[in-house]
């Protein structure tokens, strides 16, 4: 089933075209990587999908519904969860409370104790069980990223947008993170659209990859296809290296 549909999405900031006629689809159950050089418009695209930024032209459809003009919180309750590249924890609140905020919306009908239990489960899934009472502002970067993940999962998403959750981790942690994302995908029956610069991770886990460059979708295909595409190599390495390789 078609879960996310982007139809000629465009967005400019002043004279800079951050996104230009981006058209793409994500099927339910897929894990799709979104890559591209710095400034390609990846995070802008996430912000448009999540409703933080409204696009100038084009349409965003989620599960058949046109959500282009929906406010952020409504998009979240419809089933799109996200993490932020630059982490945004509720700094003065404990990890448990951070997750409980999300559960106070997504699990409204459940009792307080049930929610606390679920929050603890989620923190355990991402490996933060021992830090549930720590104020989120005191966590290190990796733990903050784990918390972002737990909080996003607590919204009961069908589609999860992950913005560089692996960036900044060492190679051992990257391995762990890959295993975690793979596990989440299976356990929570998630569809994932993710931005990542760690090629090892994105090539290994993604079913399909979208490549953005200067706001345009320049290539789309399996990891294998994309990594051999001349346009992609040019976007990443420049003209001369494309011809010499």
């Amino acid at each position: 089933m078609l879960l996310l549909e982007l139809n000629e999405v465009s967005k400019s900031f002043g004279g800079v075209k951050a996104l230009e006629n981006v058209t793409a689809e994500v099927q339910e159950g897929e894990i799709v990587g979104l890559i591209g050089p710095n400034g390609a418009g990846k995070t802008t695209l996430f912000n448009v999908i999540a409703g933080v930024i409204k696009c100038d032209r084009g349409k965003v459809k989620f599960a058949g519904k046109d959500i282009t003009k929906y406010p952020t919180h409504k998009i979240s309750t419809l089933g799109i969860g996200r993490t932020f590249q630059i982490v945004r924890p509720f700094a003065t609140m404990s990890c448990l409370e951070n997750v409980l905020v999300a559960l106070s919306i997504s699990e409204k009908s459940r009792s307080k104790n049930e929610r606390i239990e679920k929050a603890q489960e989620l923190l355990e899934t991402v490996g933060l069980a021992e830090k549930e009472q720590t104020p989120a502002g005191n966590l290190n970067l990796i733990d903050k990223k784990r918390l972002e993940l737990a909080r996003a999962l607590a919204t009961n998403p069908r589609l999860l947008l992950l913005d560089e959750v692996i960036g900044g981790l060492n190679s051992y942690e990257v391995g762990e993170a890959i295993a975690l994302i793979d596990k989440l995908r299976k356990n929570f029956k998630l569809t994932i659209l993710w931005i990542e610069h760690v090629m090892k991770a994105i090539m290994q886990l993604s079913d399909r990859i979208l490549v953005l460059d200067q706001g345009k979708l320049i290539c789309e295909g399996t990891p294998e296809e994309v990594s051999h595409d001349a346009r992609v190599i040019r976007a990443y390495l420049g003209d001369s290296s494309a011809s010499s390789s």
Partner: protein, 305 residues
């Protein structure tokens, strides 16, 4: 709530109950004013300390509360109890309107808009001489029955207890959790489904209504209401009380309001210079105890254990 906290609150309550029999008539007046400021600072803390909206319209809503009820009593003979209720409803509607206009702007724009609103309210009250008697002040009846400071004290105390318990339960609820999430990070809060504008507006209307309650009760105790209640002087005093006591804590505004009210009694002898003393106190706190008295004490206790 932690047991030690609960015990402290209970002790404070018991002390408050017997206080009217221990102090002079003069200090009793001070205490009643102090309780008014406790109501004001605690409700302002709800928006400034828990949802991060620095509104300057709080004193104006207190003014709307006391003038609505005062005018109804004087012109139509309506008992203060119903008058105050009407004032609260009017303040709720006005804060809903004002909030709907300026909450989306947020930050400094919200502060500026509410500042403007506050001055508009004060100027209208000051100039509509025929209705409000302007700066001469409007003579209003006592809360009920015969005038008694002790009655006024207990009514104020009852209101303070009800409001504080109410605020405590709100903060404990899902809404309270969402308040803090919105204050921490709006975008992150929206991304997990928190309806940010709605949450902010709820806090704004709650605070406005509580200010009207405080103003109404205080006006019928003072017997003479003047445009001083909806003035920026009152507003900045409430702000100073909340900040010096400790924003974003339950006890902070209570401690701050009583501390500054009592302090102001002692520095009154310096006439206009008392403003200077206030400013110095505020600066000392901003420099050395940015988390206020309660935050500072909390850290002290944590370090010891």
């Amino acid at each position: 709530m932690k047991r030690a906290n609960l015990v402290s609150w209970c002790i404070a309550f018991v002390v408050a109950l017997i206080l009217p029999f221990l102090v002079s008539d003069y200090w009793l007046h001070s205490l009643i004013s102090g309780l008014f400021y406790v109501l004001m600072a605690s409700s302002w803390n709800l928006i400034a300390g828990y949802t991060g909206q620095v509104s300057f319209a709080h004193a104006a809503f207190a003014g709307i509360g006391c003038y609505t009820s005062g005018i109804l009593a004087v012109k139509f003979g309506i008992p203060p109890f119903f008058g105050i209720l009407t004032g609260i409803i009017l303040a709720a509607l006005l804060s809903l309107t004002l909030g709907a206009l300026c909450i989306r702007m947020g930050g400094i724009y919200l502060s500026l808009t509410t500042l403007g609103f506050s001055e508009i309210v004060r100027i209208i009250i000051q100039n509509e001489y025929k209705i409000t008697r302007g700066t001469m002040g409007l003579k209003v009846p006592f809360l009920f029955g015969n005038y008694s400071k002790i009655t006024a004290f207990y009514i104020m105390l009852a209101a303070v207890v009800l409001v504080l318990v109410g605020i405590y339960f709100v903060l404990k609820s899902d809404l309270g959790l969402q308040f803090r999430a919105v204050q921490n990070d709006e975008i992150a809060a929206a991304s997990v489904g928190v309806p940010v504008v709605f949450v902010r507006l709820t806090a704004f209307v709650m605070a406005g209504s509580l200010a009207a309650l405080a103003g109404g009760l205080y006006g019928h105790y003072l017997l003479l209401i003047t445009p001083h209640i909806p003035s920026l002087d009152t507003m900045f005093l409430v702000l100073a009380m909340t900040v010096i006591g400790g924003m974003g804590t339950m006890a902070g505004p209570v401690v701050g309001a009583l501390f500054l009210e009592i302090l102001s009694e002692y520095i009154r002898v310096y006439g206009e210079f008392h403003v200077l003393v206030f400013a110095i106190v505020a600066m000392i706190f901003a420099r050395f105890f940015p988390q206020g008295i309660v935050g500072f004490m909390g850290n002290l206790i944590k370090q010891k254990t």
